[in-house]
Subunit: 263 residues, 2 copies
């Protein structure tokens, strides 16, 4: 599938829609924003929207449905939200019940879609600035940790923040903070650096999600608010039905990463 | 003299010029840029200018004379560089030879003046953002250290970088990096953080210049390129004559700190 890497987001979504592309979207359509997806019944959507607004670092909302039942997200491209993700996860009462390639027969006029920023965008900016992103060079998923940093609750949505971690030399850590500060729509600057215990991480080498990465002598771990946070809040809220993307199988949009830079 | 604190830079310079204000300018004319001053014979000035351009973090040049012998720096206000500093230092062959209230009778048509950005500007931005600047709250001079970070040499000017240190909680350290990144003309973002030994500082509690400050549990020391660096380069170059401000007795300009923000 590597010959597809440089194709446009439109063409990639066509392949996904036709069932010809079924995997992880990481590295495909470089330069374009990829999003976390959350779909909820309208009764739950209002609280989730408030949760995102109250917790913009872990839940940076890039787009949501104009009205319940809308299958498009026109600001992100010509999208059919029922088919344009390579793998969906369906949760019932907060519990994962199935993974599927489309949600056409689950769709109804009450569902609301949310597209949230994802770390792929800022990792691209870091790499573009000549920084080494350890999980990328080591070819593993970024290490993620549950913390004791409480999110601001909204209705039934609540939970502690999940963070992702990337280690850098001190000089590159300063540079990484500068670069990511330009991109508040994709988690922005780190929320913490240094001592993992200060935010409730017991063992930096044993992440709660993803894979461990090497941390070299003299490096400082930087911790970013992570898009797994809304998934934890979703499990805690346990709505009768919720649909998300499967990990790494993101909504690929027509929006350029560079459009998200605030300066 | 505290009743003078809020006066304009123009009026403060008038008091200095008349010999009615003789002390440290820290805290006076808040909101306006204060500068480090270096005055050199033209033969040495060209190399010093190159040294500043090659080392913009420790030597952020804000203005210099349009021609040798000029006593004004018109972009910084109506300045008489021979009288508008409350205390000057005169170096002969790189060695401090005297401190004096004006340099009128030392002035000649071959001298070139350089005004360099100073940490007062970014400390004001940090405090304005609600951050605690330890040396300010503890009422001492900021701790400064010689490092093993070599400056880019230019002609006879060379030396290791001197840094100033301010400790912050991790979250405030991230904020401080963001804030100072807006102000490259006054040293900009820190050059290092964390382990002092990594940049050749043997004992963080024994600064080479200034005073030690408290570092609390969990705080991260941030290190900024410091305006003492050009003074060290000046000592190394040892021109027959050089004139600087005395520590803390800065050139107070009409330029607003907020004008220096690049975004």
């Amino acid at each position: 599938m590597k010959e597809l890497a440089d194709i446009s987001p439109q063409l990639l979504r066509e392949h996904i829609r036709a069932g010809e592309f079924t995997g992880n979207t990481s590295g495909f359509a470089p330069g374009f924003v990829q999003c976390n997806l959350v779909i909820l019944p309208s009764k739950w959507a209002a609280d989730f929207l408030r949760f995102c607004q109250a917790n913009p670092k872990p839940c940076p909302l890039i787009a949501c449905s104009a009205a319940p039942g809308d299958t498009g997200l026109p600001t992100l491209g010509d999208i059919d939200i029922r088919r344009d993700i390579s793998s969906y996860r369906v949760f019932r009462d907060g519990v994962l019940s199935e993974e599927r390639a489309d949600i056409v027969d689950l769709w109804n006029d009450d569902l609301v879609s949310f597209a949230l920023g994802c770390s792929f965008s800022f990792e691209e900016a870091l790499i573009g600035a000549g920084l080494e992103v350890r999980n990328v060079t080591e070819g593993v998923n970024v290490p993620m940790y549950r913390t004791k940093i409480a999110c601001e609750p909204a209705g039934s949505f609540s939970g502690d923040m999940v963070v992702s971690m990337r280690p850098f030399s001190p000089a590159n850590a300063i540079r990484a903070i500068q670069i990511c500060s330009r991109f508040p729509a994709v988690h922005g600057a780190p929320v913490h650096m240094g001592d993992p215990a200060a935010i409730g991480i017991a063992d930096i080498h044993a992440p709660d999600y993803g894979d461990p990465v090497s941390i070299r002598d003299g490096e400082i771990p930087l911790y970013w608010a992570c898009g797994v946070t809304p998934q934890v809040a979703l499990e805690n809220a346990a709505p009768p039905m919720a649909i998300t993307h499967a990990p790494g199988c993101m909504l690929v949009t027509d929006k350029r990463n560079s459009e998200l830079a605030v300066f």
